[in-house]
Subunit: 226 residues, 2 copies
Amino acid sequence: MPTRKNAGPAVTPAASRRPRPSGGSASERRDHLVKLAAELFARKGFQATTVRQIADEAGILSGSLYHHFDSKETIVDEVLSTFLDDLVARYRAALEVGGTPREVLSEMVRIGFSTLEPHRAAITVMQNDWNYLLSLPGDRFAYLMKAEEEVERMWLEQIKAGQAAGEFRPDVDPKLTYRMIRDTIWVAVRWFRPGGRLNTTGLAEHYITMLFDGLATGERTSQQGS
Amino acid sequence: MPTRKNAGPAVTPAASRRPRPSGGSASERRDHLVKLAAELFARKGFQATTVRQIADEAGILSGSLYHHFDSKETIVDEVLSTFLDDLVARYRAALEVGGTPREVLSEMVRIGFSTLEPHRAAITVMQNDWNYLLSLPGDRFAYLMKAEEEVERMWLEQIKAGQAAGEFRPDVDPKLTYRMIRDTIWVAVRWFRPGGRLNTTGLAEHYITMLFDGLATGERTSQQGS
DNA sequence: GTCTATACGGCGATAGAC
DNA sequence: GTCTATCGCCGTATAGAC
C-alpha cells in the first residue's frame, strides 16, 4: 500500500489537495513526471532546471507538461510534500511505539537515514532550495516550516526527557543538539551513494554509536553538571 | 594585514590570478562589490541572483559591473576562492603547531566554526551551489574539489593517528567520521546567527564535547575491537 | 567608472489544433 | 494527452558615449 498510513493527518497542503483517482493510471503518469523532475531538480537545482528539460526527459514537449501541472512550482511542491508526509508519519509511528529516550532517538535516527535512499532527490532539493522556495511570494511553501517545527518538537521532547531521566548529559543544549543531529543526517545525501561500503542501516548504526558514546576511548572528560 | 599569510601556496586559481594593485583603492571597490554579491548569492542562490540585482545593491547599472568582472561566474569564483584560501591556510597552520590527535582535531573543529561568521555568505554559497558550479562546462571550478581533497587528507591523517594511538575507538570508519564532522560544522551556517545564545566559540566547544564523549552519561556500550 | 541602449537567447506559460 | 506556435518577459553580456 503506497498511499498514506492512517497514523495522522497530512501535514502538507499539496498532499491533501491532490486528487485520488480511482484507476490510478492517470496519476501514475503524473507521479512518473514528478520523479523525473525531482531527479533534475536534485542534480541541477530547482531554478536551473527548465520545464523544457523536464519535458525532454519525459519525451514530450514543454507545453504538454501544463496538461498535468499548472506551474513548475506545483511540481516541486509535490516532490517535497510527498517526502515530508512520509517522514512525519514515520516519526509519529516511532513515538507511538515508545521506549526509553535513547531507544526512541535511536529509532528516529534510523528513520532519518532510511529515507536517504527512497527520497534522495527530495532531500537534496529540500537542502539546496529550501531558502529560495521560502522566499517566493505567497504562502505556498510555508508548510515546509510547519513540518520542520513539528519534527523539531518531537526530537526536543526526547532529548529533554533523556536529560531529565539522567540518561543524557545535562550540559548540552537540547536545541543545538537536535540541529546537529538533523543536519548530520540530511546532509549525508550529498555523498551517500547506494552500493558503497555502508548501506543506510550501517550509516545509522555508525552515527548512533558516535552520537551516544563519542569518538574517544577511555574515561570521559568535563562531566560537570548544569 | 588582510592578505594571505605565507603558510603555503594559494590553493585556488582565482586567488593567484587576481592582480594585486599597489594603492589598493581600485581593488577595494572590487572587493566591496564581491561582498555585496556574496550576500545576494547566499540569500537567493547563485542562479537566482541576477547581475541587475547585484548592480542595484551597489547603486550602479548592470552594464557597469562588467567593467570590474567579465562574468557573473568570475564573481562567485572570487567569493569561494577567498574563503577556501583562508581555510586551508589555517588548517595548515594548525597542523604545524601539532599536538595529540585529539588536540589537533579539536583545533580544526574550532577553526571550522570560527569561519562561520567572517565567511558566512561564502560557506552558504558553497553548500547550496557546489553541485551546480561543478556541473558547469569547463574546469573553472575544479579547484573546489582539489581544495576539498586536501582538507580531507588533513582530517583523515589525524583521525587515523588517533586510532593508531588508541585515543579514538577503532570501530568507526575514519572517512565516514570525517564527513560527518565536516558536514556538521558547515551546515551550521543555515541556522547560526551572531548574537544568539551561543557564539561560534561556544558552538565549537559544545560540538567537541559531543564528538569525543557523546551524548550519553554512564558507561559506554559496544566497545568491541575492529 | 558609469550610463545609455540594445542584442540575443532562453525562460515559464498559454491557446487551440489534432 | 500531446503538438504547434507563439507571447511577453527577463536573463547575461556588449558597444560606445560621456
